[in-house]
């Protein structure tokens, strides 16, 4: 008996009793008020079911607007004292009770049988993105089995986060074909630069980094955590060492004013290592990569958006070729960070869904409301007395009679004396 369960039972009882009283009470206003209580209970349930926004909507719209409307109409019609009288269909009550009993029985048995609790939601599919971080390497196409997931990926490019199916794949990296009309490498019979087995598990988001040298090509996988953030102004950071032929580096958060207050966020990262996930507050940082006391590269005034998972890749970038000098130098890649998911049931998530997936129904419902408004107004307006229309065409016979006799004999075609807008007969 957890606390929630007790709470649930109490509120449920309140809901049921209020519903019952609503049904029984003779006074319509009392019924409406009982219904309000019921609605508030349901709102409470929504809160319990992690739908806070809906709870608020329920209270505002349902209890606040709809029931008020009900009240208005009840008062308007003075129907609180309505009720009683004989009914021709007395058997309805009995039949209704019977049917509803059957209904309940079916529901109970169904619930008992269905074992709802054991039903598990489907796990969300895996997501992956691919980043090319080999300097002086040509653009590549990346294929998972036969599905192309990255096209013409040059150095420094990162794909978006793609939703893929879970399973085991064969990752194939081909040199990208410069010609846009190239057939697929499978038709070309090209040999992949790299062929690695890859396993995608559900509910995981990963960034795959193609790192190393063209001769020694490696695939680094950096897991991304996109679960909802509890704290609002934080972001997550992962650092990846993708600088080939380089020793271990330390990733240090620098305090420019006081070097002693430097914090080593990730230590002893070797080539190919991925740091653990760091949770950082949302402010400006100064970071430093250091190798054996040497400063490798420093980042000044690094700031990130909250609720994102940032990625920092230490890699080599090409430099203009100068004889005798190496062709690359160390630098970093910072691909755009994907935003984490919203909490379940949060207004943000609701809003996002409403405006992306359910945009069309959203708009249509808006139109519907508009139509409803107009309809309600029309239905309830005061009846305007229709004015009698005058006959457009008066037959010549009647005209002759009219002219012959001074008094207007044809009273049927007489028009009410309305000022303007009289129409003359069109035919004479």
């Amino acid at each position: 008996m957890t606390f929630e369960l007790v709470l649930f039972i109490v509120v449920a009882a309140v809901a049921i009793f209020s519903a019952a009283f609503m049904l029984i009470s003779r006074n319509a206003v009392h019924s409406a008020l009982f219904l309000v209580v019921n609605l508030l209970c349901v709102a409470f349930f929504y809160l319990m079911l992690s739908a806070p926004f809906l709870a608020m909507v329920q209270i505002t719209v349902y209890a606040g607007a709809i029931m008020v409307l009900f009240m208005f109409v009840i008062m308007l019609l003075g129907s609180e004292r309505l009720g009683g009288g004989t009914t021709k269909y007395g058997w309805l009550a009995g039949g209704a009770v019977a049917l509803t009993t059957i209904f309940l029985v079916v529901v109970f048995v169904g619930i008992a049988q269905a074992q709802i609790g054991t039903l598990q939601p489907q796990a969300p599919p895996p997501q992956a993105r691919f980043i090319h971080s080999i300097a002086n390497a040509p653009a590549v196409d990346i294929y998972l089995n036969e599905q192309r997931v990255a096209a013409d990926l040059s150095f420094g490019d990162a794909t978006e986060l793609q939703t893929l199916r879970a399973g085991n794949y064969n990752l194939l990296i081909f040199a990208a074909c410069p010609d846009p009309d190239c057939p697929s490498p499978f038709e070309r019979g090209a040999t992949p630069l790299v062929a690695l087995p890859l396993s995608l598990e559900p509910e995981r988001a990963t960034a795959y980094i193609v790192a190393g040298t063209p001769e020694d090509l490696r695939l680094l996988s950096a897991p991304l955590d996109l679960t909802p953030f509890e704290a609002e102004n934080t972001f997550r950071l992962t650092v990846v060492h993708a600088l080939p032929n380089f020793g271990a580096v330390n990733f240090i958060q620098e305090d420019l004013g006081n070097p002693n207050r430097n914090v080593v966020l990730a230590a002893e990262l070797n080539f190919g290592d991925v740091s653990p996930m760091l949770s950082l507050e949302r402010r400006q940082y100064d970071f430093l990569f250091e190798n054996l006391g040497n400063r490798v590269i420093a980042l000044r005034e690094y700031s990130a958006r909250s609720r994102t998972h940032e990625l920092l890749i230490l890699t080599a970038v090409p430099v203009p070729a100068v004889a005798g000098a190496p062709s690359t130098r160390p630098s970093y890649l910072r691909p755009t960070a994907p935003a984490a998911r919203h909490a379940f049931g949060s207004p943000q998530q609701l809003g996002t869904e409403l405006l992306t997936t359910y945009l069309l129904p959203f708009q249509l419902v808006g139109l519907l409301l508009l139509a409803t408004m107009v309809g309600a107004i029309i239905l309830t307006r005061e009846e305007v007395l229709k004015r009698e229309r005058k006959r457009l065409v008066v037959s010549p016979a009647i005209k002759r009679i009219n002219r012959a006799i001074p008094i207007n004999v044809s009273a049927e075609s007489a028009e009410p004396a309305l000022p303007s807008g009289e129409r003359e007969p069109s035919a004479d």
């Binding site: 269909y89 309805l92 049917l99 209904f103 079916v106």
Partner: protein, 830 residues
């Protein structure tokens, strides 16, 4: 020769082309142009035939079979192995016919331009004429029986169209013409039926309808034709093993004992040949107007005179003679039929000659004369004198056409004379159409009735002289053409009777001699009535000579009638003498003809020999040419070497190459003098009888007055009651049967009783039954009940709509629970 012969389709195409042109363009062309078109078509056809004649002479008289372009198989049924091609045959016989048809046809076309002047359907006439020419040429050029039959039927059609040409004659007279046309067609049809049976038999027996297959060479016939029809081996492979009809006949006769099977019975081949020839004879009696199917020919005189001249004298009626000549092989193999042919021909000759004595219409006399002369021809070919028959065919074409055209000229003049005569009296009648003779308030004037004529010799000299020449030729006066051909026939009869001992020869000889006498008599009677004496009516007195377009053909035909005999001078005659005489005759002829022509052209119709009235230059020409001819004639006679090389028996030799069993004749001088005497005697007798006036009082014939000759005359005048007999024997029973069938059987029984009872009453009862008990009772009730049931169901179902919301909600809830149960059933079952 093949090249020349390949023109033979032109002979057929040209007249048809002329017909089509006149048919479609006729309304836009002038009379002269239409006539010129038609005449040119005929003349060109004659030219082609002439060219082919020269060609075939130069190439050994060998026959050529030509397949015309485009037209291939006429009937082609490969599954029954029937392949009857559209083939034409160019041999001496067909060329003879072609020349006669196109030659005389051209002259008659020319004549018709003048004769039909002013006729409202002028173009149509020439269309028909050309059409006829085309069909006749198909008849004679065909190489198989089917093509001949096509031409046979075609000329019958054209005859019908042309006889009834004036079907719209005024005052209700047109129906007489259309009746005559129909009579011609129907009587011909009876004959055609016989011919068709013959053709069917031929096809059944021989399996082919070709006269000769293309690779058969007809050896020069005569007596020894049996084994002489060779089949040239090799070559084009057409019907290699199959022979043509005639060759097959010879082969089977030679081997003997061939049996023809008809499925249920069999007949020996000779019997079948006899049957074939007998059926053919029926066709011949129809087309060539022999007993018993000649009755259409006199009625056919209702057509315009050019038609009578062309079709019913010169060409169509000779088709029968051509048929028998072509089938000489068959007739030679069937002596019984040949004898029958002879007897029929001879009998017809005498009978028709007798009837001609009593006729008053100028054209009827000529018509019966034609029948009589056809009898001569048919008898000749029946007795085996194929060349004689063809010779008479040719000469008869000349002088009979001449006579007809002359009669046309006379009729024309009579009509115009009638007009002129009445122009003084009346002024309201302006009809231009030919043949109108009735004035409402006058007696009917028949321009063709000889009793209205007389004294026309002075009024129409050219017509008179040419008519006279024609008469003399017909009567068989030396040295005109008729003498030679008639004498040939009589000679054949004599030979058959006295040398071969055939019975039919005796009959033929006797009948034909008598007929010759009759011929001379009635022809001179006609001369007396028409030309000599004084005009008996105003019309005759006002008659004038006809236009050149009418008289020039007369002159040409007269010349041909004079010289036609030279075609076939028999053996034993001193050809030198004959040629000389002919030349002298020619001189006399020229002496007369040229001035007359000249006079006519300068607009004076003067009596004969008005030489002095001509200009000196023309006088010189006329005299000079006449003298030239006469002197050369005398020279030929007196200097033997000049004329010795004139060929004799030209026609016989010519025809021998295409007609087997043709043989020539040596002149029998006794017979010749006998025939000549009979001819002259007939003329003299007629001259004596019909003098001083040809008609006795009351416009009766002299013979009619005399009691001993009156029955004979009346019998002749009544045409021996042939038409009445046919009427009694055939028409009346037929009409009665038809009337009975129409009224009693069809109308009363079928229509009134049967239809009314069976159909109408039964239908009514059935309809009533279906209407009332079935329709109203069952069906209506059924549907009404359905309707009511629906209404009741609806009334009951309507109560579901209670109008109470709560019931609706309850129902919905019920439905929801039900659906839930169904959906959760699998779950609940666990």
């Amino acid at each position: 020769m093949e090249v020349i012969a390949s023109f033979v389709p032109l002979v057929v195409i040209l007249p048809f082309a002329g017909a089509l042109l006149n048919l479609f363009l006729g309304r836009y062309l002038s009379e002269k142009l239409i006539g010129a078109l038609a005449t040119t078509a005929a003349a060109l056809a004659f030219a082609v035939a002439a060219v082919m004649t020269v060609g075939i002479t130069a190439h050994g008289y060998e026959a050529v079979v030509v397949n015309p372009p485009i037209l291939d198989s006429w009937i082609y049924i490969p599954s029954a192995a029937i392949d009857i091609p559209w083939q034409m045959r160019v041999d001496t016989l067909s060329l003879t016919m072609m020349l006669v048809v196109t030659g005389v046809g051209t002259l008659i076309h020319l004549y018709a331009i003048g004769y039909m002047h002013g006729d409202p359907r002028f173009a149509r006439f020439f269309v028909y004429l050309n059409l006829f020419l085309g069909f006749m040429l198909i008849l004679v050029t065909g190489n198989n029986f089917l093509m001949m039959f096509v031409g046979w039927e075609g000329v019958g059609l054209c005859s019908f169209l042309l006889i009834g040409f004036w079907f719209d004659k005024k005052h209700g007279e047109g129906w007489k013409n259309s009746n005559a046309a129909r009579k011609a067609f129907i009587v011909n049809r009876v004959g055609d039926f016989g011919l068709l049976l013959a053709i069917f038999l031929i096809f059944w027996t021989y399996g082919t309808l070709d006269y000769y297959k293309p690779n058969e060479v007809l050896h020069i016939g005569g007596e020894k034709a049996a084994a002489d029809v060779l089949v040239r081996e090799g070559g084009d492979g057409i019907a290699h093993g199959q022979k043509g009809v005639f060759a097959q006949t010879e082969a089977w006769l030679a081997e003997g004992g061939h049996i023809v099977s008809f499925g249920v019975f069999e007949l020996p081949f000779e019997t079948v040949v006899t049957l074939i020839t007998l059926f053919m004879l029926i066709g011949v009696t129809g087309k060539s107007a022999q007993i018993p199917l000649f009755v259409w020919l006199p009625d056919a005189m209702a057509g315009p005179t050019p038609v009578s001249a062309l079709i019913h004298a010169a060409t169509m009626v000779t088709a029968g003679v051509y048929l028998i000549t072509r089938n000489s092989v068959l007739y030679h193999a069937a002596p019984l039929s040949a004898a029958l042919v002879t007897v029929v021909g001879a009998a017809t000759a005498l009978m028709a000659g007798f009837i001609a004595l009593g006729q008053w219409d100028i054209k009827k006399v000529l018509a019966y004369s034609t029948v009589s002369q056809l009898g001569f021809m048919v008898a000749a070919v029946g007795i085996g004198g194929y060349a004689a028959g063809m010779f008479h065919l040719i000469t008869h074409a000349f002088f009979k056409a001449l006579l007809f055209l002359g009669s046309g000229s006379v009729i024309h003049a009579m009509e115009h004379g009638h007009h002129h005569a009445h122009a003084h009296h009346e002024s309201e009648h302006g009809e231009e159409s030919h043949g109108h003779a009735d004035h409402a308030h006058e007696e009917a004037f028949d321009p063709q009735d000889m009793r209205n004529m007389g004294g026309l010799a002075r009024r129409m000299p050219i017509t008179f002289v040419t008519y006279l020449i024609g008469t003399l030729a017909l009567a068989g006066i030396f040295p005109l053409a008729g003498f030679w051909s008639k004498d040939e026939i009589l000679g054949k009869a004599f030979n058959a009777a006295f040398i071969d001992g055939k019975l039919e020869g005796f009959a033929m000889l006797g009948l034909l001699l008598a007929a010759a006498g009759f011929t001379a008599f009635y022809m001179w009677r006609q001369i007396k009535l028409v030309f000599l004496g004084v005009p008996r009516t105003e019309a005759a007195a006002a008659a004038t000579e006809s236009s050149p377009s009418m008289t020039i053909p007369l002159l040409v035909l007269a010349a041909l009638s004079i010289f036609g005999g030279a075609l076939n001078i028999p053996l034993g005659v001193n050809s030198v003498l004959v040629i000389g005489v002919l030349f002298i005759t020619a001189g006399f002829w020229l002496l007369w003809a040229l001035p007359s022509v000249r006079l006519f052209f300068i607009g004076r119709a003067e009596p004969v020999t008005s030489l002095p009235s001509l200009k000196p230059a023309f006088r010189l020409i006329a005299l000079g040419s006449a003298a030239a001819f006469m002197l050369s004639g005398a020279a030929i006679i007196l200097v033997p070497s000049l004329g010795a090389s004139y060929p004799l028996e030209t026609l016989v030799l010519w025809l021998e190459h295409s007609v087997p069993y043709t043989k020539g004749l040596t002149l029998n001088p006794f017979l010749a003098i006998l025939a000549l005497g009979i001819g002259i005697g007939g003329i003299l007798l007629a001259q004596r009888v019909y003098s001083p006036a040809p008609l006795a009082e009351g416009n009766q014939d002299v013979l009619e007055i005399r009691p001993d000759t009156r029955p004979a005359f009346q019998l002749a005048n009544a045409k021996l009651y042939w038409d009445e007999t046919y009427g009694r024997l055939i028409e009346q029973p037929y009409n009665r049967a038809a009337a009975w069938l129409a009224h009693k059987l069809d109308w009363e029984f079928w229509h009134d009783r049967f239809h009314h009872t069976v159909f109408r009453d039964f239908y009514k009862r059935a309809a009533d039954f279906i209407a009332t008990p079935v329709d109203r009772g069952a069906i209506d009730q059924g549907f009404l009940r359905i309707g009511r049931a629906v209404a009741q169901a609806a009334a009951r179902l309507r109560t579901v709509q209670t109008g109470y919301v709560r019931t609706y909600v309850f129902t919905m809830l019920f439905g929801v629970v039900l659906v839930m149960l169904i959906l959760l059933l699998p779950l609940l079952r666990q």
